[in-house]
């Protein structure tokens, strides 16, 4: 599992990349896409819409299920990934690159401090997987 060093992470499995001062690129993590399976539809806000930290800003659908996308930071959407409507599989193939979702002009840079570092996020994911395994150990026995 890959956790690029130059990103910040949310507990809802979004990543944030600072591309300019107060401009953030947002997507979902490799762990998130692998949990989802084949992504077949991505619903994103429109340019100009405001998003609020911890509120849903869109959704991502696999063949089986729908998951909400939660904003890791607040701000105004200044660009959306136009490739995703036709090629939602980019989210699976390149979750940290071509599968990016929105670019946001942040309204409060302080919010970055609430996000996880790569190490913290890696540990968070590991803990979640351990919980799954533990459940696996205890049930059915």
């Amino acid at each position: 599992m890959n956790f690029p060093d130059n990103l910040k992470y949310s507990k809802e499995h979004e990543w944030v990349m600072m591309v300019e001062d107060a401009v953030a690129l947002i997507g979902i993590t490799e762990f998130a896409q692998s949990e989802l399976g084949d992504v077949v539809y991505v619903e994103l806000p429109e340019v100009g819409e405001k998003i609020t930290k911890d509120d849903p800003f869109g959704s991502v659908e696999s063949v089986k299920a729908v998951s909400d996308l939660f904003a890791p930071v607040s701000g105004t959407v200044i660009e959306v990934n136009d490739s995703l409507p036709d090629s939602p599989e980019l989210v699976n193939e390149d979750s940290y690159g071509d599968g990016w979702m929105i670019k946001v002009q942040m309204s409060d840079k302080e919010e970055l401090k609430d996000l996880l570092t790569p190490d913290e996020y890696a540990e968070y994911v590991e803990r979640q997987q351990e919980e799954d395994d533990e459940e696996d150990e205890k049930d059915g026995e």
Binding site: A32, V63, V66, D68, F70, D139, G140
Partner: protein, 385 residues
């Protein structure tokens, strides 16, 4: 990102093949009280493998109920919609367990093992309910047992299924017709081999002793690998059945839905004599149904999912029961109930997809039918209308 479904934490059951699924790296989910593989490498790839070559499914969570004794046939006739007396030994039949209002308690496959001995394969979530219902309605001399623990059930499905299976058995599979079964050895594993399935492809369902389940799985995977056989999880099982418009209990079917509403009138044999639910169904047939199960294809972008409400010009018409992106057709497909007067092909409706109204039209079912079935079933589908 947060999934919109929650999993319960109660103790879950596992099939004897659970360790195999773990070793294969399957993603495991809860389904009907079981921990089951939902996917191995990806739902779309697995789905397409079944359409193009072959897939192997562990569906041992399904329940099995045996009914035997001098009164077994009469009991089956009384509790189900289809005509069990038409079956010969070694035949299988799709059937419905009905309540006294004509609602569907479960849909099932019934096998006539002997003249007075039947095996019912039922939905995992309904096994206990079905067994109790049957026992509560038993009259005379019939022995009813929940024998679910006695079987591992594997489904081998796809155009290459026969070639894969024939490599390991002396059974003449080319002579085993759809909805027929035979007992035979698959290599060293004794099986009930049934030419049935839930994918819309040719294929087999193999019932064997739980102790030999892993052996059967492994030998099939090894002999079938070069023909493109791959393990397939419940995710693709659902998309495959939905393309073929097979109903799923708890979605298209429940105790308040009748076969006439669910496009299953062909199962109901009014001519066989009395059975539970017959009178209300005859009445409903005379009065006409208020709602009907239809196929839905969104015209605007969006995937309809189970529970999404359906509207027409602001009026509520019903709800979606199943929906997905069809891996074969590469477009969203869905089924749902709408009021009968609006259940007209090409009628344009609106589905509320998470706060947004998306235009959809009523589409013919099934969405997918394999080519051999298309020609063979032309006459039958005409009669079903």
């Amino acid at each position: 990102m947060k999934a919109q479904t929650t999993e319960s934490t109660r103790t879950l059951m596992r099939t004897p093949l659970y360790p195999v699924h773990r070793r294969l790296g399957a993603k495991i989910v809860e389904f009907a009280g079981w921990r089951m593989p939902v996917q191995y490498d990806g739902v779309i790839q697995e789905h397409l493998a079944v359409r193009r070559s072959a897939g192997l499914f562990d569906v041992s969570h399904m329940g099995e109920i045996e009914i035997k004794g001098p009164n077994a046939l009469a009991l089956c006739q009384r509790l189900t919609a289809n005509d069990v007396s038409r079956m010969k030994v070694s035949e299988a039949q799709y059937n419905l367990l009905l309540n006294d209002t004509g609602g569907i308690i479960d849909d099932l496959m019934i096998y006539r093992l002997q003249e007075d001995r039947f095996l019912l394969c039922v939905n995992a979530a309904n096994t206990a309910k079905d067994a109790n219902w049957i026992m509560d309605h038993a009259e005379g001399n019939a022995d009813i047992r929940d024998v679910s623990d006695s079987y591992v059930l594997l489904a081998l499905q796809g155009p290459a299924a026969q070639r894969v299976l024939q490599r390991s058995t002396a059974l003449r599979l080319d002579e085993l017709k759809p909805f027929h079964f035979s007992f035979g050895d698959i290599s060293t594993v004794r099986c009930l081999v049934s030419r049935t399935g839930y994918t819309g492809e040719d294929g087999f369902e193999l019932y064997c002793n739980p102790d030999q389940g892993e052996e059967l799985w492994k030998l099939l995977m090894e002999t079938g690998r070069d023909l493109g056989l791959r393990p397939v999880g419940l995710g693709a099982r659902d998309t495959l059945r939905l393309e073929r418009a097979f109903p799923l209990y708890g979605h298209e079917l429940d105790e308040h839905i009748t076969p006439l509403e669910a496009r299953l009138e062909w199962v109901v044999k009014f001519s066989k004599g009395d059975f539970l639910g017959r009178e209300p169904l005859l009445q409903q047939k005379k009065d006409g149904v208020k709602r009907k199960l239809v196929g839905l294809e969104p015209i605007e972008s969006g995937i309809a999912r189970s529970g999404y409400p359906i509207f027409k010009e602001g009026r509520s018409l019903g709800a979606v029961t199943s929906g997905t992106l069809s891996p074969t057709l590469r477009k969203p497909i869905a089924m749902g109930y709408v009021s009968s007067e609006e259940a007209v092909l090409d009628n344009v409706l609106e589905i509320e997809v998470r706060g947004r109204r998306v235009k959809a039209k009523i589409a013919p079912l099934p969405f997918y039918r394999r080519s051999s079935e298309r020609s063979a079933e032309l006459g039958r589908s005409e009669r079903r209308k």
